[in-house]
Each structure stands twice: as C-alpha cells, then as structure tokens.
Symmetry: C2
Subunit: 210 residues, 2 copies
Amino acid sequence: MADEMGVFETIYQCRAMRRLKPDPVPEDLLVRLIDAANQAPTGSNVQGARWIVVRDAEQRAKLAELNRKAVTAYIGPQSGRPAALPHQPADKRQRMLDAVLWQADNMQHIPALVIACYEFPEPVPPSGAIRAGGSIWPAVQNLLLAARALGLGAAPTTLGLSDRDASRAVLGLPDNVEAFCLIPVGYPTGNFGPVTRLPVEETLRWDRWS
Amino acid sequence: MADEMGVFETIYQCRAMRRLKPDPVPEDLLVRLIDAANQAPTGSNVQGARWIVVRDAEQRAKLAELNRKAVTAYIGPQSGRPAALPHQPADKRQRMLDAVLWQADNMQHIPALVIACYEFPEPVPPSGAIRAGGSIWPAVQNLLLAARALGLGAAPTTLGLSDRDASRAVLGLPDNVEAFCLIPVGYPTGNFGPVTRLPVEETLRWDRWS
C-alpha cells in the first residue's frame, strides 16, 4: 500500500495538534474518520460507540465556552496547575499549555468538534459509563491516526465536557448516552512532527512488576 | 512508505485474533509493540502507561487459570450469557464464543501475555484507576495495530483480570499501579481478515443527538 501512510509512520508522527485553521473539512473526510474509529474493538463486540460531529456555529460556540471556562479553572494562571504538570521539561510543558490556551480561545472557529459517545442499553449510572472506557478510547485512537493520515489535526480533551450537565444539555444527550471526550478536528496551522515519549525500557517489565 | 502496511489497511484488517500458536515471539518484536503503544496520547501527557510482558511459563499458567475461571463464570454454558450478547447474528456470536473458549483452554500456551497497566503518583482509589481509561486504552489500540502490521495476533480481555486481588498478587502490582487488560500475543493459527462493523451512518449524528 504505497499510496497511504504506513501504520508505524502514522503512530510515530501523531502528535496532538491543537492549533487548527477555520477552513472547513470536507464531509466525506469527517465520515471517513468516524468509520475508521468504529473499526476498533469494543467489549463483547457490542459496538456502542456513537459520534456527534458538531459543525453548527452556534453549537460550536456553546461548547467552546464550556471548554474555555474549564481550561481557565484547570490550568489558568491562578490555578497553580502549570507548575504541577509532571514528566515534562519546562519548555515542553509551556508549549503544551500555550497550545491548550490557544485552543480555549479559538475553539469556536475550529470547523468540526467531534464528540465521542457511548450508547448503553439502559440509563447510565456514572460508574457504568466510566467502565466502558475500553470500548470507546481505542476508537478515539483510530480516529486520531486516521486524521493524521489525512493531513488533519486532532487531539482529544475531556476538560471541555467536565461540566457534565451543561455539555449534555448542549448536545441533547439521552439518559443512556455518555460523552467521553471532545476532539477538535481541522487543518493544522503548523507542521506535523514526531511524537516524543519515554524510552520504552522505562515502561516495560518482564513477567511481573517486582 | 511502501514497505510497511498502510494505516487504513491495518485499521480495517485488525480483527481480534484469539487462536494463537505456542511459537515464541522474538523479544525485539514485543518491545516494538510496547514502544508503538507508548506513542499514544495520555491525559496532560503524563505518560503513566506501564507494561508487563509475561513469558514465564509458571506466570502464564497462573494468569490462564484466573482467566479460565472468569470465562467459565461469565460465558460458560450455565451462565445464560451467550444468548444475551447483543448486536450479533447467531453464527458470528457463536464463532466469537468458540474463540473465547478456545483461548480460555489454551492461554497458558500462548507465548506472551501483555498486561496494560497505569502507574499513578499515589495509591489507587478504584474510581481513580478507572477514570484513567483515556490514558491507557489508546495505547492498547496502537499495540493491536502494531501487532497486526507485524503479523501477530492479539485481542484485549478484561475478564482475565476480573479477580482483581488474585491477578494483582500474581503480577506483584504495587498499590499505585492498576492493570486494565490482558492482551495475549502470538502468531495466529488462522488467517487475518477484514473487520465487520456497523454501517457508519448508524453511529454518526450531526451537531446534536436530537
């Protein structure tokens, strides 16, 4: 398959892209992202992953406002949080924070906000929703990889949904659907580049922890 | 990148492979899986994903026994569960159950059992562990895609870890580490093939749920 990005190439070049242009993304590409996402496994193959792709300007503005409030509370200058973020050299941490704050200021202009949801057979008890993470987050990763391969920027955030009642009201979610993350999608203003992560030997043990 | 599988090709051909040969998997391939997994995003880029790759025969036998008990209780002939699995035609459901039961009988012979863990800065409250799903399951999906591209079969199961105390004791997990799933990895006895999933239009809504 010489005419698409290689899977390892994509995995190693799939950096979180938060600064995105307002240019619209063709609908067929958005559908392709969701279809690729749905190929991921779900527990017992129940396939309850559901997606809301928000392009309506008024809806985007409402979600952007919820996200802005949450970001301000969580990592704003008054929170003390920036200095507490672990495992990051100061310059890298600052770059991430700058991008998160840029995104908070500009989310309403990003052309598509994808909401990753899971539909349960019954009304959601909070614990039940959370336990389904293994049936929705693998799909989110497929979506991020597909976006990267199509030249689209994306990065999931849970912060924008942290006011659960308010975000559910904006999205019109029924009792049996839970939203897990919000993924702004658009063409990046900057360049894609390699991911940098911990050396593998710091993360891997053989046979037992200790 | 003509010399590796394409990312879409991999996503669409990444079926759960449960029947695996006992042949060992070269260590460098196992390390490659884990390194690919680690490229996935984690909340605030904390990178707490940790991996135990179990090759030791005695350890595999202990984990296989825990899994066998859990499978028997969950989907064995007495549980009534097989008939209850949703969204599956009867023949497909039966094939999946046959594979799960095969795996339960043979897990001790599968050459590598990968445990996906997350290391927290503090002892794990059960709720805290579960909320970290977004920081470990994307990595699991990267691992599955990397395995597929390397010709290895893999499929995550949470059932084998459902006796939490017993599995933690086998793995020697400290208080601040939680295990999320067990991924048997090996060369498949059968052929890879396409994933079949719901049509995308049944999973996608625009702008709001309703």
